[in-house]
Subunit: 247 residues, 2 copies
DNA sequence: CGCCAACTTGATGGCTGTCAAGTCAGGTGG
DNA sequence: CCACCTGACTTGACAGCCATCAAGTTGGCG
């Protein structure tokens, strides 16, 4: 709501969503574009949208027309089965794209829910397609992003199919750590935005098992955990846990 | 090896790979293209390749330059972990695309192995990108195919994360049945191209568990199974098994 | 005919789910 | 400011599903 009286005092360029001065441009869709190309993206990515904690960005079944780039905040996506079971399919943070699953049937196939107050840039998909017919770099990068999502999903399948509970959690923590690092945050210390139940759902475990694994890691000096606050003390140790297959 | 003397006697148009007279064109990449557009695809999809049973189409780590459309046959893809564990990430049949995972890092991330003697059409990726910059329908369809792969992966994650052994196998059989049907084969009777171990790997189970579940389904009159030959007797029964969550 | 891979079936055990009780932290209202 | 309440988390006891180990069977192929 731009009913703020201070609004007029701020230069318009700052308010307007613009990839060209977004500090995520090296992580997000405009990666690798020239200045001129990026300005053409600016015209397309015109609407920024706030999503409050626990609100849906979109729901399964809704018509698909845009993908979303996360400007700030944290999301989860989940899918539902008819019988009520559900599963978290991913956690997304700044610079990542949401909604790629909706392209196939022109309808979203999962729910996207903010885990903290967030901001996203809506990218109308038909306009993205038409622009990527003109800008090769954009087209290619978009294909890479979709492909990366497929590779990521294969990693999760591997995790769910072959790893034991503690291995899964170790992989999860290392993955978060690595993604926080890529965004300039500490690789060793962060707050979890999600509950134990959501972690469990993502990892195919029950919340009690997640809790026990956290406690076990703490006993073993691998991490320090207090509720949602995590400090990673021994990254090599976690990696060893993940790769040493000792059933 | 075109050292066959009969080669000269067959009209070239029949030998040449051509989407425009491929009976899979309504399932595969050219879906929805006009005749003229399809002929432009023909020029690109020039190389057909035979892959014998148990041979690799590509291996994880190899440089990526083409995606492959399966013209006939049956494949599996699998990923390997450093410690030797591996998992089957999918089974692919005629009309489906292989190699989409390779786009992200310009390197294949999994192995694609033929489960029976097969034929694929190699589609050079840079040419696909350039053609899809010109043909909107092709571009859009390709995006849909990639997105569909993401949705499929979410389904597998759901299966691995929330379902019990028999539910997983029921889902697997119903999925195969549905895909065979889409290709004009019987929906109720088919040969499995993969071993129990490969099924188990895909479903996150051990081969003994797969075998037991098959036997159980047979006892319950849901299917008739003899080695790799499957006859589905009670589709609604399998669906009930899959959706009635009774832990 | 014999070999071997694939499969089936049984017995046992362990990881993780389930149920239950209790603790902690944050927010609200008196 | 503090008591209370609630959702999130932790921890313990027990049970069940599936993995593991083992032995035997089947079917294809040289």
């Amino acid at each position: 709501m731009p009913s703020n009286t201070a609004f007029q005092e701020i230069p318009l360029a700052v308010i307007k969503t613009a990839c060209s001065n977004c500090n995520l441009r090296e992580l997000c869709l405009p990666m690798g574009l020239s200045d001129e190309e990026m300005h053409r993206l600016d015209d397309m990515v015109s609407t920024r949208k706030r999503v409050k904690r626990s609100e849906h960005l979109y729901r399964a079944g809704q018509e698909f027309d845009s993908i979303y780039a996360i400007r700030s905040g944290f999301f989860k996506t989940d899918v539902l089965l008819e019988d009520g079971r559900d599963q978290v399919t991913g956690f997304q943070m700044a610079g990542e794209l949401l909604g790629l699953d909706g392209i196939s049937a022109e309808r979203h196939t999962c729910n996207a829910i903010a885990l903290e107050d967030s901001e996203v840039c809506a990218i109308p998909f038909t306009r993205l397609e038409s622009l990527s017919r003109e800008i090769f770099t954009l087209q290619h990068h978009f294909h890479k992003v979709m492909s990366r999502e497929i590779v990521r999903d294969h990693g999760v399948m591997m995790l769910l199919g072959t790893m034991r509970a503690e291995e899964r959690l170790a992989a999860f923590l290392l993955n978060l750590s690595q993604r926080f690092t890529a965004r300039g945050f500490s690789h060793a210390e962060f707050y979890l935005r999600m509950t134990r139940e959501e972690i469990g759902s993502y990892l195919g475990l029950k919340l009690e098992t997640v809790s026990r694994a956290f406690s076990r890691f703490q006993e073993d000096g691998l991490i320090a955990v207090q509720q949602k606050h995590i400090r990673i003390l021994d990254i090599p140790g976690l990696k060893r846990l993940m790769t040493h297959h000792t059933p």
